[in-house]
Amino acid sequence: MGHEAMSRSILVISRAAVGPRMASPGIRAYQIAGALARALPGARVTLARPAGQEAVAPPEPTVRIVDYRSNAELVRLAARHDVAIARNFPPHFIPLMGRTLLAFDGYTPLLIEWLEMAERDFVRCRRVWTASNRWYVNLQLTMADYIFCADERQRDHWIGMLVALALLPSEVYERDPSVRSLVGVVPFGVPAKPLAPNGPAMRGVVPGIGAQDRILLWHGTVTDWNDPVTAIEAVHRLGKRRSDLRLVFMGVDHPDYAFGPNAGKLREAIARARELGVEGRSVFFLPGWVPYDAIDSYLAEADAGICLGYETVESRFAFRTRYVDAFRARVPLVCTRGDVLAERVERDPLGVAVPERDVEAVMAAIERVLDDADFVAECRRNLAAIAEELSWDRVIAPLAEFCARGRTNAAPLGKRRRDAVVRAGVYYLLKKLNRSAPPR
């Protein structure tokens, strides 16, 4: 690596909260900034976050944290860096194309998640909203000098989109027939630091959870594509023959307000738990949001992790970032089949993967991860192995290489710039149209 590569300036942009309380997009930006600083010791790494949040220690002492108040301010900041990394770039970044390298973090299949969310109340005209999203994502790919995502399936999906948008011309393929220099894989990593619990969090603290109870931890939010009700039903039915089960939904107030207690799925779950009379007895919804540095205390008390969803196209392309915490804590998992990590859960094994909406299977899986000591020991060994495989310092390599290389292998700039202007224009029009649509 030459001197130039080592002294590069890199801006990691978080569009989501980065602070004492953060959800996966913020955590990812925070960890990427830290891992890049370690991988490229001479580089200047800046982490930009939306203003108005509490102070947080930088992921590495050399990483500078900067607050931004507007997109215009963000663009000015990015212009002073060689590389800018973000989950999405507003159209304001178009003038930067060809000056600052733009690395697009496609670790969630945005369009599919937004198709799920299109049912929600804030969407006025579903079809227009979906169309505007499509043009927005197409714009991201057009602006991107590098694309990285969490796994190979997501990579196939982004490559398919590049094909549709004429962003995979023969020049790109000829320079690198693996196309890894344009679309790479950076999974959601596992922090290297061992679990550091800081006193009791649930047992003896939350009324109703005793020292001898077995805790199933739903660690993370309840999204539109989760299925908490099947978990509640299973715990309710198991509760008829054992009294030690405690299903805990850890933190129900999402820091980015995307999914709160009033959002559909969680509301449904709370209602069902009340109906069954299990709320506060075997099912617990902890209010608030657990601070990032306090999660360890919860993980340390968990006997198993649980997260259920559906076997849909959303799960096919999802990388369930919350599982990564379970890997670090060596907590075996009960999860629904269909996503890429559930395949590992089943194959390695790291726990038990169950078919969707199958209460009986969930009941059997819960008993297995709680009571089968040999199986749990095997899972723990495998969890340690995958935690090592997914350590941030390992998974960051392709992105660090791109930053060090400092040049793009994307389609020719001129055409991309023209297409970006057109795509941004259509996006604005559709967005405006959606705003002016009558509320549903």
């Binding site: 369009l111 599919i112 198709l115 799920e116 299109a118 579903r126 079809r127 979906t130 169309a131 499509r134 994502v137 197409n138 790919l141 399936r153 196939d156 999906h157 982004w158 490559i159 398919g160 989109m161 590049l162 094909v163 549709a164 948008l165 004429a166 995979l168 011309p169 023969s170 393929y173 000829e174 027939p177 693996s178 196309v179 559906y310 076997e311 849909t312 196209v313 959303e314 096919r316 392309f317």
Partner: protein, 417 residues
């Protein structure tokens, strides 16, 4: 018949057998089209003249390339696009081989326009494996084919696009059939271990590494046969530069017609089976690139059918199965040492060879065409409403047919000799 013809015939067969009351027509490109005796389907040759008539006469049209002429029937008929390769990558490789400069760009743009047209016209898409499906789903998302209604109708989108992999021959290998190599072909002795490369040596294959591995092994009792240099219809595809390179390397190494043999004529589908059965080990080497990532190497299916353990390069989806299910050995690209070790292992370790053979035999049931083509059978049998509404797709289809015709014209003009 090469792979596409084999696939279409097998689809016609299983549709005729499993869709009650269906009248199935297999329309081929060759003028002398005829099916096997007693086939439960009709065979016709299609031309640009009768294609419209043929479409008009049927309810469901399945094709690996829906022509623009279907547009007038878009609302009356059901269309299935059988995209059994990731064409964006496969044809990229073809383009790199045949064209330069503007012609190459025009070719790639033509491919893209063609794919957009297929994905928009199709009421149901099938492909060969999950990776192809994931990438095509990405393309469909960008094109707006996965609308809110489509998504609401089927959250898995399996009724919009699904994987229907290539199957294997239905009949069991007839081990009593007369031999074609040992004792017949002068180069092959009774005690030899025979490696077979059963398929063409196309642009994206790497026979050089294989020849180098054999040279390093330096064993007279290990023979390699390249089978299938010619492709019906596209005769020169198999005798391109890679084939010539392979022959030149074999000649320079002194291997040609001593330990390495080239069968240059086209071997019929039935005869190919006998060559494969007589071989001990299958082998195919290529590059670990994006073409490989999405490829479904149909030649491996004959090896599975004949229970021949095989060696292949990493990166392919079937190579993953080879590794996971113990069908043979997977080697890194361009690694003659690893390849030599793999060949020696399969040639000398009879217990390992037998173990692989048993694992291959275990896959026979799941690779029957009526199993692999279940999504297609169900679409034709159950007649569900297209997941992506036709009315939503129509404006896009008109635009994409026009784009395709334009891109094709540019390509034809740009590559005129």
């Amino acid at each position: 018949m090469s792979a596409p013809g084999i696939r279409a015939s097998a689809q016609a067969q299983v549709l005729a057998e499993h869709v009650p009351g269906a009248q199935v027509t297999l329309a081929g490109q060759n003028a002398d089209a005829s099916g096997p005796p007693g086939a439960p389907y009709r065979v016709v040759a299609w031309t640009s003249k009768n294609i419209v008539r043929l479409v008009a006469d049927h309810d469901i049209i399945v094709s690996s390339g829906l022509p623009p002429q279907i547009a007038p029937f878009f609302f009356q008929k059901r269309f299935v696009a059988d995209l059994f390769s990731q064409y964006a990558m496969e044809w990229m490789e073809v383009g790199l081989q045949h064209y330069r400069g503007f012609g190459r760009r025009a070719w790639v743009e033509r491919t893209r326009a063609w794919l957009s047209m297929q994905l928009t016209a199709a009421d149901f898409v099938i492909c060969n494996n999950e990776r192809q499906r994931d990438s095509y789903l990405g393309t469909m998302l960008s094109l707006g084919i996965v609308s809110n209604r489509a998504f609401a109708a089927d959250r898995t989108l399996r009724r919009l696009i699904d994987a229907a992999p290539h199957g294997i021959r239905r009949e069991l290998p007839d081990w009593s059939a007369p031999r074609v190599l040992r004792g017949v072909h002068p180069g092959f002795r009774e005690e030899d271990t025979i490696l077979i490369w059963n398929g063409g040596i196309i642009q994206w294959y790497d026979p050089g590494t294989l020849l180098e591995a054999l040279r390093r092994l330096g064993r007279e009792d290990i023979k390699l046969l390249f089978l299938g240099a010619s492709y019906p219809g596209i005769g020169d595809l198999g005798k391109g530069p890679r084939f010539q390179d392979a022959k030149a390397i074999a000649a320079a190494n002194g291997q040609l017609n001593r330990t390495v043999f080239f069968e240059e004529g086209w071997v019929s589908h039935d005869d190919a089976a006998r060559y494969v059965m007589e071989a001990d080990i299958g082998v195919c080497t290529y590059w670990d690139n994006l073409e490989t990532r999405y490829a479904h190497r149909t030649r491996f299916l004959d090896l599975i059918w004949a229970e021949r353990p095989f060696i292949c390069t990493h990166g392919d989806i079937l190579a993953e199965e080879v590794e996971r299910r113990g069908w043979g050995i997977v080697v890194p690209q361009q690694d003659p040492e690893a390849l030599a070790r793999a060949i020696a292992k399969l040639a000398d370790d009879k217990a390992f060879w037998e173990h692989c053979r048993r694992n291959l035999a275990a896959a026979r049931a799941e690779l029957q065409w009526e199993v692999t083509q279940r999504p297609l059978i169900e679409f034709c049998r159950d007649g569900w409403e297209p997941v992506s509404p036709k009315a939503e797709r129509f404006p896009g289809l008109v635009q994409r047919i026009a784009a395709y015709l334009g891109r094709r014209a540019v390509y034809v003009w740009a590559t005129k000799p």
